[in-house]
Amino acid sequence: MREWLARLRDWLRRDQLDRELAEELRFHQEQLKREAGAAGLDPDEAAWMARRKLGNVTRHREEARDRWSWPWLDDLQQDVRYALRGLGRSPGFTATVILTLGLGIGANAAMFGVIDRLMLRPYAYLREPARVHRVYLQSTHRDRTRIASGGIEYTTYLDLRKGSSSFSRFAAFTSGPMAVGSGDAVREFAVASVSGSFFDFFDARPVLGRFFGAAEDITPQGAPVAVLSYAFWKTEFGGRDVVGEILQVRNIPCTIIGVAPEGFDGVMAERPPAIYIPITTNAGYANAQSDLTGYFTRYNWGWISIMAQRNPGISVDEASADLSDAYLGSWNASLALDPEGTPPEIARPRAIAGPLKIAAGPDPSLEARTLKWVTGVAVIVLLIAAANVANLMFARVLHRRRETAVRLALGVSRQRLLRQYLTESFLFAGLGCVAGVAIAQWGGALLRHLFLQQGTSLDVFTDRRTIMVAAGFALAAGLMTGIGPAIFELSIGKALETLQVFFGNSFFFVAQFNDTLRN
């Protein structure tokens, strides 16, 4: 690898290396001459001896030069230069092709960015992501089956945790906007309320202070402590030592105890929280004026989501069955408090250990389904764009067939020509990719608005995954638009030329074909 880099570096300064080598060989020859002169030979004879000893200088130079010459790289450079010249010669064509491909690639890059966040991208720092589930609760009311991924009672969470044995960790979490700060400086930020066990799911270490744990997450009222997100800490506090300071979060005077590492969003990447507080602190202070025990003893306030880490060796189905038993117990407990509720025979309560991302879960939301459709459309848009560009390229090929014929007659190899035309279409695709990423960046605002919650960061420029996918689309587009016309140019193009020579333009097919493409 290191050697290849060195060779590439040498290739870039090959002219200098050529000169240096020539000088080195000249020096060598002079030394040989001097040596011969010292041995008593006359200068002419010495020079001849030296030349004979050194042998064929040109051959030596060629052999050493092999170490930094890469013929195919030279060709590539030439092809790119040639293609760029061609692009500059027909700016209208170039702009049309780049814009068409850019729209196709941009639409797909933007869609991928959204899909990736909603369904694919793993959560940063999450330990054992394959065994961490979101708990979905299914029940039937009035003949309608509902699958809840959130809005679950804290009491149910406690029941599931106590009643199941297939999981090593449970955490309750919820996230929403809260007023943060005091006086004139109050502003709304996303605040995550999470169990003390929440941070154990992650392999993350606070950059400052510490996370909160079970000791601060206690019923009826948790401790007033807060952990800041890295981004919030940087923008609001300038990254200074904030541990011990008081931050007013809604009606909770929180003591800041730590700062999460960069990129840590918990499991709320769709809307990264600015602040984390214990979930019982949220509930305890929210109900401080009324009933402090209701939220963890009764079943009338559904507001949380549940995540759990499955034990190794237990299958997802076994874990779901175990959870369902616990949920049935919880259901019966709630019936005992409220005999008016739906009996389990009708409600058929069931719990599912599903994927953390709701969009990939058993009941994808409407947005997730819409998203799939829009993605399908985006892919079709790219195909249409590629087909259009391929068409334009075909027209260009016909336009250029005289040039091709001349070059072939002059002895250019067909492979070389093919490579050159492919270089051209890949160059188009590459520029289209750049245009596409820019379109995705600035045009993606609409998508963000439709599918992601506000405050989500969707910066295409800095997102390596999206850029990679855009490059992949560009590569595919380059192949699609390049290979057809290139082959056509070299084979059928040639055949057409021949036909024309034999039959002239009176051969109606050729004439018509040409007219079609010229228009």
Partner: protein
């Protein structure tokens, strides 16, 4: 003047010889060739056709460094220096070369 018959070097030995030569001091290409020829008592003659490609290859592998300098006669020449990576490489080559020589002499039997 009768030139001794050219001996083919075992593959890879040229690199080892060059590296070994450079451990004593920084040298230019001509100096390296002279040094090897002298120490081998004219048995090994390093051909320029193999010397310079080998030097380029070793430079790209990071075993040696090349820098332009002046000879005592005030002529510009390219001087080669062995790098730490080159020294490590030399150590490996020396030991495997030793193994090879021992193996060959075992096959050839006691003289």
């Amino acid at each position: 003047m009768i030139l001794p018959t050219r001996r083919d070097l075992l593959p890879g030995t040229l690199d080892m010889l060059i590296l070994k030569t450079l451990t004593s001091q920084t040298m230019h290409g001509y100096g390296i060739a002279q040094h090897i020829q002298r120490l081998s008592q004219d048995v090994i003659r390093v051909e320029e056709g193999s010397l310079y490609p080998a030097l380029q290859r070793m430079r790209q592998k990071g075993w040696i460094k090349a820098e332009w300098g002046l000879t005592p006669n005030n002529q510009r020449a390219r001087y080669y220096t062995i790098t730490p990576l080159g020294r490590r490489q030399l150590g490996q080559q020396e030991s495997s070369f030793g193994d090879l020589i021992a193996a060959i002499s075992r096959v050839m039997g006691p003289a």
